[in-house]
Symmetry: C2
Amino acid sequence: MAKGTIKAASERADLLPLISEVFRSHGYEGATLALIGEATGLGKGSLYHFFPDGKAQMAAEVLAEIDHWFEVNIFAALRKSDDPVRAIAEMTAGVDRYFHSGHRVCLVGVIALGASRDIFAAQVQDYFSRWNDALALALRRAGFSAGVSRRRSADALLTIQGALVLARALDDAKVFGQAMADMKARLLAK
Amino acid sequence: MAKGTIKAASERADLLPLISEVFRSHGYEGATLALIGEATGLGKGSLYHFFPDGKAQMAAEVLAEIDHWFEVNIFAALRKSDDPVRAIAEMTAGVDRYFHSGHRVCLVGVIALGASRDIFAAQVQDYFSRWNDALALALRRAGFSAGVSRRRSADALLTIQGALVLARALDDAKVFGQAMADMKARLLAK
DNA sequence: GTCTATAAAGCGATAGAC
DNA sequence: GTCTATCGCTTTATAGAC
């Protein structure tokens, strides 16, 4: 790999979190190149230099980065941990951290509901179904039946998404904290 | 009221459900006047005749119509019924019907997460908080403490929203049906 | 690698004929 | 009440100077 490539890749990686926040707060359609340019301090020319396919490529890479974060910080432990109860506790802690205790919205959920749904449907479905599978596996290893594990796993995922929606709608982050506590209790209840 | 007014009002009312579906499937930003014209069979001129303030007015009236449907079909019974358990059962049945068993998305939730959030924040917050209050009141009348009632009420609302998000993301409406059954059980559990 | 200028298309909204 | 034509603006995306 040439020097230039490495440097570019490094700066490119720094761009994604900034772009990510623009998509989060404005949605896919609302995130204009002007806003992205403002957030990154880059002109359109530079943005198209890094992302030749434009906005769609930016969103796809942002989704991939989010996916990767969850894969590393959440899914992996759920799949491999020999202490599934602890992995689940770490999941709830990680989720709370990631979503800033309910102040931050889930971009994957935003896109799932939004108009750009069709473009990113595969990525969205993959993200949730891998999370769902990993969590169900942890529950199974914690001693629950296959049916219970799958039901509780879906319940947890939908609770997170719903809590983010309602916290945003009511402008009350406490809703999220309470929901995460309830979810954790339901996940491991006898 | 003049004949013309009545006729116009009648046709206008017929317009809203058609426009509503455009907002639902494309979001506020994605719902262009071209798409709305297609769905209604009306040109821009006619649309602006009915809605002088354009797209924002259309969305506001669609939200008001949704609010009214829930007020009449769900909230009222929760507040007034002398059989709160039955009112809650009717709520879950009504919700299942309204959201087409998970195949239809919640426009209020879509807007709460989307880029147009700020414009409609008051309407969105009002809708959810009135639902929340009505359901909590029914639970209180069913014998639960104020704290339990409020917690369970918020849990139910967020479960509905989350189930719609996850069902859409996984493209699997069964997720919604299971979540509604779970929600109903949790709502009235001892 | 970053910028400005600009193209090409689509947007919401308006005007005015009918 | 409905239409067509069009305005003014913003959008994504490209071209080319530096």
